[in-house]
Structures are given as C-alpha cells and as structure tokens.
Amino acid sequence: MRGVTGFQLWWWVILPYLALATFVIGHIWRYRYDQFGWTSRSTELQEKKLLKWGSPVFHYGTFAAIAGHVIGILVPERWTSEIGIPEAAYRWFSAGAGTLAAVLIIIGVAILAARRLFVARVRATTSPVDWLALILLAIVIVMGIAETIGVGLLGGGYDYRQSVALWFRGLFAGNPDVRAIAHAPFLYQLHATAAWAVIAVWPFSRLVHAWSAPVGYLWRPFVVYRSRKATRPNEPGTSGRRWRRIGVHY
C-alpha cells in the first residue's frame, strides 16, 4: 500500500485483525471452557432503585446505537444514494436519531456509572476485567456521543461514510482502506481504536451475556423436562473444566 506508514499499518490493520482474532477465538474458548462463568452478572439483588432507570434506558439506547452503526457503517453510502436518499437527508436522520440514542445512553451510563462507582455493594462485584471493559466502553460511548452531538448535530458534520466506514468494511472484505481512517479526525480515530479494544476484551468480560439474549424463550414449552441422558464421565483429573481438543464431543 502506497503512502501508508508502518505505524498506520500496525494500528489500523494488524491490531484490528488481532482484536478480531482474539474476539473469535476468545469466545470459542470461553464458551467451551467457562459455561459456569458465562452470565449477565446481574446486581439487581444488591441495588434496585437506580438500576430500574439506568439499565433499561442504557440497554435500549445501546440497541438504537447499534442499529445506527449498522445503517451508517455497514451499509455503503452508494446503496442509500441509489435508492434516492441524498447525503444531507441521511446526515439529518443520523444526527437526529443518533442524538436521541445518545441522550438515552448518556442518561443510562450516568446512572449506571454512578451506581457502579458509589454503591459499595455493586462496586464490590466488579472484577478487574470488567473494569477494563467498562472503561473502554465508556471511552467508546463518550467519543460516539461527541461525534453524534458535537459534530453531527451542532458542528458542521462529517461524512464518516466516506472514510471510517470504508476502512471498517474493508477489514471484512480483506482490503481495509488505511488512508481513509488515517486521515479521519482524531475523535473518530479514538472511537474506532477504543472499539477494537472493547472487541478484544469482550470474550473475557461480562459483555458475553449479549450473545445469550434468550429469544428462544418465546417459543419453548413452559416446563422443561430433562431425563438422565447418557453422558460420558470426564477425563480423570479434569473435573470437566479443562481445555479439551475442539471437536471431541463428550
């Protein structure tokens, strides 16, 4: 790649791929090795009054933000303009809906962060890796809010679909556009960097509960019966919790 420094290559290509690899392998490893630790890690038992407002507002705001990222980053600008949506219209929608999501997330995060920091019972349940994940997540959120409200709504706007999105989609297509991201404003670079860090930490933190959203509950019979299935005993000395070769099914 011409015009790309070694640092840029390292920062915007190699590190993201390492994060992605960690994400995938980490999840496989955690899912096989640590079913027992795989939980939403609810602290509602310890504190309920703040959670009542903080948690739903944050989660629903996050869903809106994720949907916004799918529309803004994964969907190429070419597609939206082909179906007749001009860039200006998209930008107003992005700033408007994005701001709504951002406000929800601000309120939610403020309540949840205060709860985690100042309610001793809740603070005590937070493991070091969860602190790391939550701090990284906070950086991503604060930067995202600054972009949406500061740049998109109040500022002159920035067409990240011509820069950040190209690089991001390129990562999955195998030819990331490093120059596009390398020349993006610092705010967007920090947002993207922290996001990759969250992706790398994800499988080892409580964030894994996101993949266990129990949608199957809607269809399953109410009362679950299980019979004593024939399962093979564990290998001696493993207590059933050791890493095993993938594909060997006991």
């Binding site: 079913q35 027992f36 630790g37 795989w38 939980t39 939403s40 890690r41 609810s42 602290t43 509602e44 038992l45 310890q46 504190e47 309920k48 959670l51 009542k52 948690s55 739903p56 944050f58 989660h59 629903y60 001793a120 019972r121 005590a124 349940t125 509960h209 266990s212 129990p214 949608v215 199957g216 509950y217 809607l218 399953r220 109410f222 009362v223 679950v224 019966y225 299980r226 019979s227 004593r228 299935k229 024939a230 399962t231 093979r232 005993p233 564990n234 001696p236 000395g237 207590s239 059933g240």
Partner: protein, 547 residues
C-alpha cells in the same frame, strides 16, 4: 395417561420443635460458600410471621406463581413471555437483599490482633457484600418464636385477610413452626420463568434443578417462584436452589434435612401422577378447588390399571413397589391428613404438611375435658388457639373443611389408640371421620412410631444409570472434586461408594467391623488405636487392628 413418578415430602408440623437442625445441616451441606451466605434451601419459619424473604407469600406484591388469564387459561402471574424479555434489564418483581438480609460475618481476627488494653476486645459485624461494618436489621430467623410479633406478625399475608379475628395478646397468641424447602412442583413456575431454559424438572423423579452451566443469571426464576426458594448467588451471578439432595436420593437415602430431623417429622416417598392432568388441574377456576384437583392428579399405585400402565411406560418395578409403600402417598391421598402449602399459587407443590394439632388436645385437657372423647376434641378444633382459618389460608386456599377433617382424623387416631393402649373399647367410631380401625393403626404407625424405614421409602436410582447420572451433574461443581480430593474416584471410607454410607447388614454381623458391647448397644470399630476408655470389646482383632 402419562404416568410420572415424583419424590415427595410430607412434614408433620405437630412434631416440629423449631430447632433449625434441618436448616443447619442443609446449610453445611449445600450453601456454606461465599455468595450463598443468605441462601437457605431449608429454613424454619415461625408462624404467624412474615417469613423469608419478608412477606414472600403476598403474590400481589411479588407476582410469583401462576394465575388464570381472562380466558381461564394458565399464565405466569408476572406476565407474558414477551413482557418478561422486555423487562429483562430490570425485573420489577425481584426481591432485593434487604428483603432477605445483608449477609454478614464477624471480624473474629480482632479478638487476637486487638492491642493490649483494659477492655476485652469484641467482634464487630462485617457485611459479606462490602466488607464494611454493618448493623443487621432483618434475617432468616429474625422472628423466631414470635420475636417482634406484636409489631410485625399482623402483616403476615395469611393473617391480613382475617385480621379482625386474630389477636396476638398474650392470652390468645398462637404459634407453630413451618420448615420450608423447595416444593419441587408438578407445574413449576420457576422453570416456566427461566428465559435460558436452564431450569428443568427431572423426568425420573421430578426433582427441579438449575443447570449451573446454562444459567445466564436473568433472575426471573427467583421472582417466578412464589415460595421464593430459588436464590441468586451474588458471587457467581447464577441461580441456586434446593436440590432435594439428589445425590442422596439417587442413592436411596433421605435428604439431609430429613436424615437429621430431630423431631423425625419428615416423610419421603414416591407419588405417581398423571402428567396429562396437571395443567387442567392447575387451571381449576376456583382456587379453593386446587387441593382436591391436585389429589385428582395422583394415581393409586395399588390400582392394577395404574400398575400395568406404569410398567408399560418404563417405571421400574422396584419404583412401583416403593410407590405402594410410600408414606407420603399414604398421608396425602389415602388418609388425607397432609395438605399442600399454598395451592392457590397453582404450581402443584409436592412438599405437603400435616397441620398442627397439639394445642387442641392441650386446651381441652386444661379445660377439664377428656380428650378420649372425640366429640370434645372435635368441638375444640374450632376453638383452638391456631385458628382453622389461618391454617386454611396456608394449606387449602382458604377452605376450612379439609383442614378441619385432617385435624379431626389426627384427633381420632389419638382417641382410638388411647383406647387400644388402655385395653378399653373406644368410645368413638373412626368412621365418623372416614377412617377404619386399620387406617387409624396405619396412621399411628406412621405418625407416632415413625420408624426410619417407614418414614423414608426412597428407591435408589437405577444402578445401571448411576455412572452417567454422576457424570451429568458433576459439572455443577462438587466441592470435593478438586484434584486428588475425595470426590475424585475414591470411594471414601469403606471404599464402596454408596454402600459405604450406611452400615450394611453383613458388616453389622461381622465382629471385625462391629460388635455388641456389655450395654447391648452396637459399637462400630471406628478407630484403629487403643484408648483408655474403650475396652477391647469393640471387636476382636481381625483386620489388623489393635483392638
């Protein structure tokens, strides 16, 4: 007819002295770990009282169990599945730790590390959640023996409806103990509430368990259980509940709470039921009919049709035989002296209770009555200290007749057996309460003699499945299974696993294992070393010991 077997418990409240031995042994066995300090798979409540967690019986507040929707169909009281998923980020019906109690221990090290001074050092209370000093204000056993009852007991949800009738002044106050474990319901609302499908009812014996590996901590089981017998482990973020001591039950042994019950008030046995009838029974329109409806679900193991169908559907022959000998089926269905706890929750609970009678007999005796005359006792049943209406609110959704009949039958057994013991003709006819003389004798055998073999009829899980059974469950983490620990394949003392639990008959006859001492009692050779107080009569030398 789809026949299923259920391990079921009956507790005779007449005999409970509130010693909490069951709670202690249960806690030592199952919940002596960080994260489960506040968790009592078994607890003993003084009634009247708020219970644990406070006022758990008020389902208008907690929304546990089932209810009927507008079309008369069974629905979870907490709302639809969609509503549950939508409120997964905040469960409005979950109790907080204050409703149980903030777990605590004491700063014992201070006793040793305190600097020298004139005062003896004392320990302070330390929260297990935060490590900070705290002041306990409520707990599992806070209202033991009516402690604080004048201020609180009238808020007992079972009393609220009849508050004008109940007075708690010294002359008329009443109390009894209510030991509680998980009900292992036929229609468990905790299982139905679990979004992950981690909770299940075992097909073979009906025990309700949480798969620790599949639980994702969505905590709807905790609020879904009207008895609040699913707890949230605050360290692991997973739900835990009474296991009915399944490893012991599989080995044919009683649960630890039953085994160690000082009053010998617990009964364990199989009940066969028709799984196809459970839903319609649980959907009975009038909550007062639920007791009878549940009885209608149970199947008589002595009925030849039932026996044939059971064998055909794969119920092992020895299980059928155990069901015929089941003390719980006898107390529940044959003699109808045991009643379910809060059938109005529509979960079809399977831990039943024989209502307490003792104060009746005491009152009549004190008033100069002769309790050998049944009519005196019957008259007193309506005037007893524990109001029948209160018991009815606990056991029959408010219907007093079944409670009254159970109490009358218990009184009748006393009258009949008293006459037998004195060698006089009973002045009363057991038929008055629908019993035969044989029934009275059978109840006497079960309730008064209450031999170990009669109280616990637990058929072992089928040995051909035993290895697989253990394999299925060891993922839930036996604390003994650390590498090299006693759970790692070693059979423990005796080296023969399950059989090593109990003294085998052949061992008891083997003088190298056990011997009868001069006092006629059986002594076991427990240690291979001489002690001044134990003579060689512990058993002749045989296994290389020094006896």
């Amino acid at each position: 007819m789809r026949i299923m077997a259920q391990v079921c418990m009956v507790m005779n409240l007449d005999k409970c002295i509130g010693c909490h031995t069951c709670s202690v042994t249960c806690k030592q066995t199952w919940t002596n770990r960080p994260g489960t300090e506040y968790v009592y798979f078994n607890n003993v409540e003084t009634k009247p009282g708020l219970g644990y967690p406070a006022r758990y019986e008020d389902q208008e507040q907690w929304k546990g169990g089932w209810t009927l929707d507008k079309k008369g169909r069974l629905a979870l009281k907490a709302g639809s599945r969609l509503k549950k998923l939508a409120s997964i980020f905040y469960n409005p019906d979950l109790p907080t730790i204050e409703d149980y109690h903030e777990p605590y221990s004491y700063d014992y090290a201070h006793l040793i590390t305190a600097p020298a001074g004139t005062k003896a050092p004392s320990v302070s209370t330390r929260s297990a959640l935060t490590g900070k000093e705290m002041n306990p204000t409520w707990g599992a056993n806070w209202e033991d023996d009516l402690a604080g009852a004048p201020a609180r007991a009238l808020s007992d949800p079972n009393i609220v409806a009849m508050a004008d009738k109940v007075k708690l002044d010294f002359e008329s106050v009443f109390m009894f103990y209510l030991p509680r474990i998980c009900e292992h319901c036929l229609n468990p609302s905790c299982v139905a509430s679990c979004p992950s499908g981690a909770m299940y009812k075992r097909e073979e014996d009906g025990i309700v368990l949480v798969d620790q590996d599949r639980c994702r901590g969505w905590r709807f089981c905790v609020s879904g259980c009207p008895y609040k017998k699913v707890y949230f482990n605050h360290r692991t973020g997973k739900a835990e509940k009474c296991t009915f001591c399944f490893p012991r039950i599989e080995a044919g042994l009683p649960t630890i709470c039953s085994e160690t019950c000082v009053g010998r008030l617990r009964y364990l046995g199989l009940v066969l039921y028709d799984a196809d009838k459970v839903l319609s029974a649980a959907a009975s329109e009038d909550a007062g009919d639920l007791y009878e409806a549940q009885l209608g679900v149970f199947l008589d193991p002595d009925d030849p049709d039932v026996a044939i169908a059971a064998e055909r559907q794969g119920i092992p022959h020895d299980w059928l035989a155990a069901a015929r000998r089941s003390p719980t089926y006898a107390l529940i269905a044959r003699h109808r002296v045991a009643l379910p706890l809060h059938p109005e929750y529509r979960t079809m609970p399977m831990v039943w209770y024989i209502p307490p009678l003792s104060p009746v007999a005491d009152v009549t005796a004190a008033a100069g009555y002769d309790d050998a005359k049944a009519e005196n006792v019957f008259a007193a049943i309506d005037a007893l200290r524990i109001p029948v209406e209160y018991l009815a609110n606990l056991f029959t959704a408010g219907r007093v007749d079944p409670v009254r009949m159970a109490l009358r039958r218990l009184a009748m057994v006393r009258c009949v057996m008293r006459a037998h013991q004195l060698g006089i003709h009973p002045a009363v006819d057991p038929a008055e309460v629908g019993l035969t003389e044989n029934d009275a004798e059978d109840l006497f055998r079960l309730l008064a003699i209450a031999r170990y073999e009669d109280r616990y009829v637990v058929p072992p899980a089928h040995a051909e499945n035993a290895g697989r059974l253990l394999a299925q469950h060891d993922l839930s983490g036996c604390s003994l299974e650390s590498e090299g620990g006693p759970g790692m394949g070693g059979g423990g003392p005796g080296g023969d696993g399950v059989a090593g639990f109990h003294l085998r008959r052949e061992d008891a006859a083997d003088p190298s294992v056990a011997g009868r001492d001069g006092d006629g009692r059986l002594h076991l050779r427990v240690a291979e070393h001489p002690s001044p107080g134990s003579p060689g009569s512990l058993g002749p030398a045989g296994a290389g010991g020094l006896a």
